[in-house]
């Protein structure tokens, strides 16, 4: 029977190969993917929306996040902007490139650079921030910025999701920006600069990949910043109705 041949052969082989081997020695190192850190990428638009203000202003807004990395280190590109359809210009255009590492169970630290290239003067900042999940499920993102000219500012973003059902989600957001020095050229005064408060009702239409939403957003400028805005003929407080979608790839 043919079957016996390989059997006998293997028996012979296994008996003949008896090299003395230190028993403590690892027989083969595991160099498979399993032994490598898991690499993950992601692309998300936390906000991708059309805003219509109480003064009939129409703007397009996005807040996007692209990353690649491991549990220990991630490279992130954070992009956000506001495009005025009327003026056909970017009122705001920020891009950050940061590296991110975990610093506690629920928080990461970020460091990198931020490029602001809206209509008007550009700015480059160094960024240092923390992001993570605070008790009671508040998503927190806080950053400190130092511009090339030495102007410092900080922002704090907080987000809370309320599950009306497992698909209908009410998301409350609060963003605040403060400056420690004035940067008149770009209309930033010292102190509390601005806040943006939003409330969005979304529905997870396709998994968590595509979740259309509607909502309201309130923007307000404060102190010197508000004065600068008035002086420049802009508004200091706006209400928006927003329609958009959260995307995750």
């Amino acid at each position: 029977m043919k079957l016996w041949m390989p059997l006998i052969a293997s028996a012979v082989v296994s008996l003949s190969v008896i090299p003395a081997l230190a028993s403590a020695q690892e027989r083969m190192p595991d160099t498979t993917q399993r032994k490598q850190p898991l690499k993950v990428w992601g692309a998300q638009f936390e906000e991708l929306e059309y805003r219509y203000s109480d003064s009939d202003e129409e703007i397009g807004v996005w807040d996007a996040d692209f990353f690649y990395g491991t549990d220990n280190f991630k490279a992130r590109w954070l992009s956000s902007g506001e495009y005025s359809f009327e003026e056909q210009a970017y009122e705001k255009l920020e891009n950050q490139l940061v590296g991110q590492i975990p610093i506690s169970t629920f928080f990461d630290a970020k460091a990198g650079v931020r490029f602001d290239t809206p209509e008007g003067p550009d700015r480059t900042y160094a960024v240092l921030g923390v992001a993570g999940l605070a008790p009671q499920w508040f998503e927190i993102d806080a950053n400190l910025y130092v511009s090339k000219d030495g102007d410092t500012s900080a922002d704090l973003d907080a987000e809370y999701e309320l599950l009306l059902t497992n698909y209908w989600i009410l998301t409350a957001t609060f963003d605040a920006t403060a400056a420690f020095s004035e940067d008149r050229e770009i209309g930033v005064g010292k102190g509390l600069v601005s806040t943006e408060t939003g409330l969005r009702l979304s529905y997870d239409l396709v998994d968590r990949a595509f979740s259309p939403y509607v909502g309201v957003v309130h923007e307000r400028k404060y102190g010197d910043t508000a004065d600068f805005a008035r002086a420049d003929g802009g508004s200091t407080e706006d209400w928006f109705v927003v329609v958009g979608a959260r995307l995750s790839f």
Binding site: M1, L3, W4, P6, L7, I8, S10, A11, S14, L15, V17, I18, P19, A20, L21, S23, A24, Q25, E26, R27, M28, P29, D30, T31, T32, Q33, R34, K35, Q36, P37, L38, V40, W41, G42, Q44, D71, P102, T105, F106, L133, P135, Q136, W137, L162, L163, L164, T165, N166, Y167, D207, R208, S248
Partner: protein
């Protein structure tokens, strides 16, 4: 029939004597139709799940595995005791099987029972690469049946596994659609009062833990033997016959609670090893576990095999019927379980609940029942008196109860039918804390992921005691390759022999292992995405018969193409 180390060693010298069988498996791209969606997957001999391999104890098998994929593959023979080079874990037992290559596994069959096989490469297993193994014993079996069916469960997800992994890493609750909502808050308020509900929510929110964190991966279709609930796999019987059902949970992530309304089930085997028969109404099968049950439908009617996922997000369904086409009612899903603070027992800094049922059971006096004292112990065996199971944290929200109010199998009910090993004191205890971070979807052992971990070193011939301390909120089915896991249920030499041991949140579970297999082995959580995220170890058995040490010492450089 006590197996001694000497006998084990002898069996290695016997491969050329006795039966020999040759088997062929091809690893193929296949299309899987769940009845709800169709997806591409990986299968064997053109189907997923693959065929049932039927071996005979004492046989020397050769299995030719041909890789028709365009990537590396491997087959692990789950639960089989064999030389480590044949165990099929790329990077640990062998390099893997290259595309287009045929690899021949050769090993002696030294056991009997129900087992399974699956790929250990990448995410091929959750993509469908698994099949069943039935090994007939040399002698007679300690039970009788007229016919038998394999009932292989899978949880088929519409997303590709790579995508699932990525989604879980980015958004750990991506697939959790059983989370607590505003509506549940108000219903809890009306049930427990406003203050206590708010307090409870705040306590969980403070820890940033979800009571609903029972099932990572929802949205799957439960399958039995490759058939979705609508496709309804059907096993035929003649009324009055005894039917042996060989349940295999080859799911990626899903625990199932299984019942057959109208029938008692007698559990006769767990993980391929015979257990003293236990009559139950329902049982929970962990990922990678197997249970053999005998049922005896006496009436000329159909019966539904209903496998409800532990998180109640899905189910698999099949039918036993006197003729094709007959159906029985399909029950609805029960309310999803909610974790309780008891399930947090294992978290560091929390009350360290040593649930070691085992311990408690062991303490059970030698049943000196001259009076009624000690009677409350019996509550542990009869979970119907308020849900309690010594293998769950006291007060756990996960304790299963039978849908009909009857008997739900507990690990505590499992007693070896025949002890495999002589009982002896373990040489040492190895503590393995099961750790993780749900918000980051990292999973580890003793806080260290596999990528950063040193191997666990055991000495050939020793008996070790493993202490699992589950510090996470999830259930982990821990699978040690190559050697048996003797689960401590407090029954001494009658402790059951398993290959996969489920450790519930907030509990400590002990198992002992006779280190009787030289080589190196994998040891991991069998939840696919926990394993891939780092809940994995290599075990090196030092010493042992020399002939088995040779294998890979001469070709280490080309190993590890499992990419």
């Amino acid at each position: 029939m006590m197996r001694t180390l000497v006998a084990g060693a002898l069996s290695l010298l016997l491969p050329a004597i006795g039966l020999a069988g040759e088997y062929n498996l091809t690893v193929d791209r296949v299309t899987i139709d769940t009845g709800e969606f169709v997806k591409e997957g990986v299968g064997y001999n053109g189907t997923s799940p693959g065929p049932t391999l039927r071996f005979k104890e004492g046989e020397e098998v050769s299995i030719n595995v041909t890789n028709n994929l365009d990537e590396m593959t491997s087959i692990h023979w789950h639960g089989l005791i064999l030389p480590f080079e044949q165990d099929g874990v790329p990077g640990i037992s062998f390099p893997g099987i290259k595309p287009g290559e045929t690899f021949t596994y050769r090993f002696p069959i030294t056991q009997s029972g129900t087992y399974w096989f699956h790929s250990h490469s990448g995410f091929q297993e959750p993509e469908g690469a698994s099949g069943s193994i039935i090994i007939e014993p040399e002698g007679r079996e300690p039970f009788r049946y007229d016919r038998e069916y394999v009932v292989q469960l899978t949880d088929k997800h519409p997303h590709a596994s790579e995508r699932v992994m990525r989604n879980l890493k980015i958004t750990p609750d991506y697939y959790n659609r059983k989370q607590q909502t505003v509506g549940e808050f108000f219903s809890d308020v009306s049930e427990n009062g406003f203050l206590s509900t708010v307090k409870e929510r705040l306590a969980w929110g403070d820890m940033r833990m979800m009571q609903a964190d029972v099932e990572d991966l929802q949205g799957f279709t439960g399958m039995i033997n490759g058939k979705g609930p609508e496709q309804n796999w059907t096993g035929l019987f003649e009324p009055g016959e005894r039917i042996r059902l060989r349940f295999i949970n080859s799911s990626a992530m899903t625990y199932f609670d299984i019942r057959i309304p109208g029938l008692k089930m007698t559990v006769v085997q767990a993980d391929g090893n015979n257990v003293q028969p236990v009559n139950v109404d329902e049982f929970r099968i962990g990922v990678a576990e197997t249970y053999d049950v005998i049922v005896r439908p006496k009436d000329e009617q159909a019966y539904t095999i209903f496998a409800e996922s532990m998180g109640r997000s899905g189910y698999a369904r099949a039918t036993l019927a006197p003729e094709e086409g007959m159906e029985a009612p399909v029950p609805g899903l029960r309310e999803p379980a909610r974790l309780t603070m008891a399930d947090m027992g294992g978290m560091p800094g929390m009350d360290h609940g040593d649930m070691g049922s085992a311990n408690k059971m062991a303490e059970m006096p030698d049943m000196d029942h001259s009076n009624m004292e000690g009677m409350d112990h019996s509550a542990m065996m009869m979970p119907e008196g308020g849900a309690s199971d010594p293998f769950y944290a006291k007060g756990s929200g996960l304790v299963p109860t039978a849908a009909n109010g009857g008997k739900f199998l507990s690990y505590a009910d499992l007693k070896a039918q025949k002890p495999l090993y002589e009982e002896r004191e373990p040489a040492r205890e190895i503590e393995l804390r099961l750790t993780g971070n749900m918000e980051r979807y990292t999973w580890s052992i003793n806080g260290v992921k596999y990528e950063d971990a040193e191997p666990i070193r055991l000495k050939y011939g020793e008996r070790v005691r493993f202490k699992f301390v589950n510090e996470t909120m999830m259930t982990h089915p821990m699978h040690l390759h190559g050697m048996w896991s003797i689960l401590d249920v407090g029954a001494g030499q009658w402790n059951p022999i398993k290959h996969t041991v489920s450790v519930q949140p907030g509990t400590t579970v002990y198992m002992e292992t006779e280190v009787d297999a030289p080589g190196q082995w994998a040891f991991h959580c069998h939840l696919t995405y926990h394993m891939a995220a780092g809940m994995f170890r290599k075990v090196i058995v030092e010493g042992g018969p020399e002939s088995t040490q040779a294998a890979f010492s001469e070709q280490p450089s080309e190993i590890g193409g499992d990419v």
